[in-house]
Symmetry: C2
Subunit: 326 residues, 2 copies
């Protein structure tokens, strides 16, 4: 952790304030060094009060993501969130992470962008990513998985993000197979898994998450207004994005460990109870083909098992799922 | 096709010679332009004679790969070999093609390197790629395949390369599942398939081929001396690499079309008759696990079906296959 991250960690652990001398001693630097870093943190929006009585006190963090700050709040995670990069704007965080992966970046790297010019959804679709309204990020993973099991990554991520969002906001969050989260019947989050693989092993995977946090109704393009929502619209209040990011990443880290330990069944069980697709009649479009039937369960690789009109069980790994109106 | 490629095409189609005036007229340029390009081609090693009697005549091409020349000899192909790049040296042609794929390069692009510093084999192994001794190249494909079916690419490529090499050299070429070609029981070619994919579709695949052509016995590192061979060592003569490249690429193009038309069974049949692994007792190491049994056939996704010691059929998509000594 660099000095900024250490200062923020120390300030968060001393909400009643800490003297400049104590802070400097704790971090093993001079008081002048602490003062200079605090000045810089203030410049980027951290409200840090300094009184002779209480010393330094973190009163408010800015509505901006800050790599050192995120790192300082992720202590104790094992894989995901051991390193961060935050960009003001990029084409696509998934593309960025892929480039970094190729150059040998470590597993668990998380890249945020405050906005994306060409955020991507599944099947080459666009993901609308306006500045500072949501969490647009990608995580680099190097899982010991065969390409056939890659859907497990989408499944574990959906479970983790849904749980964290529900815990922070109190909203009920549904999973729509394979990669969407919904609140009140509208999409608020998409998960895009991409991999670089040989036929028998994944070299690396990039988990992209787009979570709509603080948009209001008027901020959506027309095409999305009827189907999309944000946590703010659903809950009637705005949310601290950095706090939400930390919670989501903590759950991702914990569930990724579960996945690596080989207990995918636990994750699949949790997925099944949060999934709004299961037990419903669905129509799945896969290119030109349509499959109709009842979504029954998830298999051990994360594929959706659908009992078709003709009575046999079909294994669905992709395509567009629509839940039939009843 | 640029002017160099057009000149080489014209010279190849007129082995008895063509006058400067005719050549210029055919290509719609001045005689001076033809003369300048011929001079350049001579400088890079093309032996082009010019006599008042016969005009220009291509006597010999250099033992070097040349993008324009390869292109001029690939007329009529539909996908593979519609564009070429040749590098004197690169780290890995697969890496290069992946970068170009990311930037939107078209399907069918072929990248050769005269030598690779870090040629890669399967499972992260090194592929020894000495300068001008073999064909080290990668092909960009954008197939309409699910990631689950990616092994089909390795299979179709093995069939195509084996057939072309056998035709040109007269050698008997065996396929060893999944990605090696052997002559006289020794490895002479490896095929490395890599993909960039979402869970339900391949965005692009890179087919890497390393074909050992003109090495002699002393040129191998110790570690490979017992298991590797070149076409020269097996046949007792050296081979024109450009000619071999063209033949291999033509077969790759034709078989890729077959794959796209959905007639994988034809390819699988051909694979099965060339495969030295089938019908043999094998031991397969997949990470820490070992599977022993008899290699029975290929399934519709290109996986190897092995009847295990315990009598059930196991589907193998990766790992190291060793044929048991009998």
């Amino acid at each position: 952790m660099n000095l900024d991250a250490q200062i923020l960690t120390a300030l968060r652990s001393t909400p009643m304030g800490i003297s400049g001398a104590d802070l400097a001693a704790r971090l093993g630097v001079t008081r002048a060094a602490v003062w200079a870093r605090v000045e810089d943190l203030r410049r980027i929006g951290y409200l840090i009060e300094a009184t002779p009585h209480r010393g330094y006190q973190l009163v408010q963090a800015p509505d901006a993501l800050h790599a050192d700050d995120l790192l300082s709040r992720m202590a104790g995670t094992e894989n995901i969130g051991r390193s961060f990069r935050v960009f003001e704007e990029t084409a696509s965080t998934n593309d960025l992470v892929e480039r970094l992966a190729r150059d040998g970046a470590p597993e668990g790297l998380v890249v945020f962008a405050e906005s994306q010019r060409q955020g991507r959804g599944r099947l080459g679709r666009v993901w609308f990513s306006p500045a500072r309204k949501g969490l647009w990020f990608s995580v680099l993973l190097r899982p010991a998985l065969a390409p056939q099991a890659i859907t497990r990554l989408t499944v574990f991520a959906a479970v983790a993000v849904a749980r964290a969002v529900a815990r922070v906001t109190g909203l009920r969050v549904d999973i729509k197979w394979p990669n969407d989260l919904e609140v009140a019947g509208r999409k608020c989050c998409g998960i895009l898994t991409e991999m670089n693989a040989e036929p028998d092993r994944v070299r690396y995977a990039v988990l992209g998450v787009g979570l709509d946090v603080n948009q209001v109704a008027e901020e959506w393009p027309d095409a999305l207004r009827k189907t999309a929502t944000s946590l703010r619209m659903a809950a009637g209040r705005s949310w601290d994005r950095a706090e939400l990011a930390v919670e989501v990443l903590r759950d991702l880290d914990a569930d990724y460990r579960r996945l690596q330990r080989g207990v995918f069944e636990e994750i699949a069980d949790e997925w099944e109870s949060a999934c709004s697709t299961l037990g419903r009649d669905v129509t799945i479009r896969i290119g030109e083909r349509r499959v109709r039937g009842r979504a029954e369960s998830l298999d051990s690789d994360g594929a959706l098992l659908v009992r078709t009109e003709h009575g046999h069980l079909e294994r669905i790994t992709g395509g567009d799922v629509e839940v039939d109106k009843t």
